[in-house]
Symmetry: C2
């Protein structure tokens, strides 16, 4: 699609090809998205992003999560900038380190302490290390398909890792108590931790919400065995409840990993934990050059005030309900087998009988033409800057896109983009 | 030292004790520094930091490296803020990603591509993964005592890691070609990479500059065996030369890790590499929620302009020479066995016959009283905001501190702070 409409995007891609691995790396690469998706963006504000060719989109990816209160939220960014002018990365922390730890401990039921870091991976890895240190054991239980970052122990692509680094892990089926118990039995006396995924958001598969039985079984196994229960809230944190999701289910974890939205896009993540994990976290040595930066903490303090106030959750939930109900109605009107899974604030949209996502890719490309940026196989995110008007535009776009899909469906071929990506793996 | 002068600091420590692991975690903890060292800071500007009790210090730690052009550099921070207002963490990168990659490739001789991340550890870990992916081999050679971050494979404290995660590594002695060759022989056909440390800055030991023979031997072993040469420039990058240090020695690496100073304290790190490592880096999957943030890249672009211009290096080198010569003169006048090692822009200051650092701790505590923040066992850093006046103040302080040390030396007992810290490990 090196057409005139995207000439700037293609010019940047050409330059990028020379100096970036694969022309672009990581989860923001459009390699596995419809060809029309722009790679480079020039601006973001509220619910909107604009690509380098000046085309604007309602952005349902929210930077894959960080944007909870809208891009460029003035109050949050002003707090960041004010602290940047006073002191950000210094030879020691500012009191904001303590204030933000207190705010998070106050907000999240199972939390008694906080350890701030930068990446979601920093937090999940530190939590695993704390669990191993606390128990003196090695084995970690993980649900099939759950993503926990890109450290050698957890990156979804094993290239460049050793078998040894990825050892001492046993997989089980999400929401399947028997499978979880069997994995715990297999781990035996070496069980260090169960990593609970608050919402199972495996790329390419429908999302699964946890059952209370499953979450409580994980808690019970950890209580009985002395293992640590870890929840990875990096993606889900504060988008479903204003607390830990498993706290709400009666299965409070010993350790939890958070990131993305906790400072509305400013770079900070955190491990939270309770008394049972304190010895573990106090035993490990983890740190980073920028982990004590005060400006993101200042932004995080504003975010935590809003989380505490709670109105934001009502806002995104209502927006999510309108979007879900509206899209279902439009899809039904067109007779399309359209499926939405996961929390309404983190929707995944897929099509029935669409194993290679050819319908999803076509529909998303049509939506993009109408100024709506969706993802065909990854969960999306809502933010508080999304209004009724954004939903209206989205539903009108969907009406056109479902019609176009119906007209084209029988002619759609195999999804060449995904096939090529799969061949490269 | 819960005295009146530090009442705010102690109040914050008390609050921190409740909500932070060990009351403070990571490399900015003052647990292994003289008791008088403040833990919490309220402000930073240019060469100075102020603690929460309002006491100011000339800061020779520079946030352990990130501060190269002075705290709060207006032009760099303005570039950050301007980009933050336009778009920082978005659903895709901005062109700044490409611009900064081009600027770094232009500046660093061995670099043909760049992969930006957040922590120094992200960069060293990705480099190791790329080397393993490129070669299909596992063993990494590392110099004794060299620090490369806090991922399970490299954290200096093994608590919470498995033996397996820390496997496939062989240690050698820095600057010792025979030791390096023996390690390579031991690795045999499984040699994936040698990690070269541009300046060996082992905590508690004198710094060692690399010899050209040693660096070239590492390059030759990699050439002969097909292994990758990695340099860890996270601490040393752009503080000794305006290029890779081993490029300058005729031993260009295949991969290098950079962080800390590359955006003058804004959160960004990078893996740079050449053609030989391109397949490797293109094979691995590494990413992070905030890795494509544009605001730190905007700051990095200003930094790279200054690196290219080059005057900064003359400035910090002249300042470093004045400091080193001056301190040596003052120490000689007092007849103190005072030792300075490493580049003048990253000095380490220790005392002869001071195995438990009792003299170093006493002297640094005396310097702190005079408003000079030094570190008794970790290398320090210079920045361009340090002036003749700062050096004058430092030398006057040293005059008093050496005199006080001479008066007190025979009465100094064992270093209780370090003994306690060692006992906790």
């Amino acid at each position: 699609m090196s057409d005139a409409l995207h000439s700037q995007d293609w010019a940047w891609r050409a330059r990028a090809k020379a100096v970036l691995p694969n022309g672009m790396y990581g989860h923001l690469s459009t390699q596995m998205l419809p060809e029309a998706y722009p790679q480079f963006f020039s601006r973001a504000e509220g619910a909107m992003i604009w690509d380098v060719d000046g085309v604007g989109y309602i952005d349902y990816m929210c930077a894959f999560g960080p944007n909870l209160f809208g891009y460029g939220d003035r109050e949050i960014d002003d707090a960041y900038i004010a602290q940047l002018r006073v002191g950000d990365v210094m030879t020691g922390p500012s009191p904001h380190l303590v204030r933000l730890a207190e705010a998070m401990v106050d907000q999240v039921s199972h939390a008694e302490w906080a350890l701030f870091c930068k990446n979601g991976t920093d937090a999940t890895t530190a939590a695993v290390m704390a669990a191993r240190a606390a128990t003196g054991r090695r084995v970690i239980l993980r649900a099939h398909g759950s993503y926990h970052g890109t450290s050698p122990w957890c990156t979804p692509v094993p290239a460049g890792t050793t078998e040894a680094e990825r050892g001492h892990q046993i997989w089980f089926d999400y929401n399947d108590v028997e499978s979880l118990r069997a994995a715990a039995t297999e781990a035996g006396n070496d069980l260090a931790a169960i990593i609970g995924t608050p919402v199972n958001q495996h790329a390419f598969l429908k999302q699964q919400l946890p059952t209370a039985d499953y979450a409580r079984a994980a808690r019970a196994i950890c209580d009985a065995s002395g293992a640590m229960l870890i929840t990875d809230e990096v993606r889900s944190g504060f988008r479903v409840v204003a607390d830990g999701i498993w706290d709400d289910l009666g299965a409070p974890p010993d350790l939890s990993a958070w990131g993305k939205a906790i400072a509305n896009g400013h770079c900070i993540s955190v491990v939270l934990g309770g008394a049972r994990a304190r010895y573990g976290i106090e035993s490990v040595f983890v740190t980073g050059s920028f982990w004590f930066a005060s400006a993101p903490m200042a932004a995080g303090l504003v975010v935590m005030e809003r989380i505490k106030e709670g109105g934001y959750l009502k806002t995104i939930t209502e927006t999510g309900n309108r979007l879900r109900t509206g899209l279902d109605e439009v899809a039904a009107r067109h007779g399309v087998g359209f499926e939405q899974s996961g929390p309404v604030t983190m929707p995944l949209m897929t099509f029935t009988d669409d194993p290679d996502f050819r319908a999803g890719f076509f529909w998303c490309a049509e939506m993009l033409k109408e100024g709506v940026y969706l993802h065909p196989w990854h969960n999306m995110f809502l933010n508080t800057a999304m209004t009724d008007e954004h939903i209206e535009i989205t539903l009108k776009a969907a009406d056109k896109a479902f019609a176009a899909l119906n007209a084209a469906r029988l002619t759609l071929g195999p999804n060449e983009r995904l096939l090529a990506a799969a061949a490269n793996r």
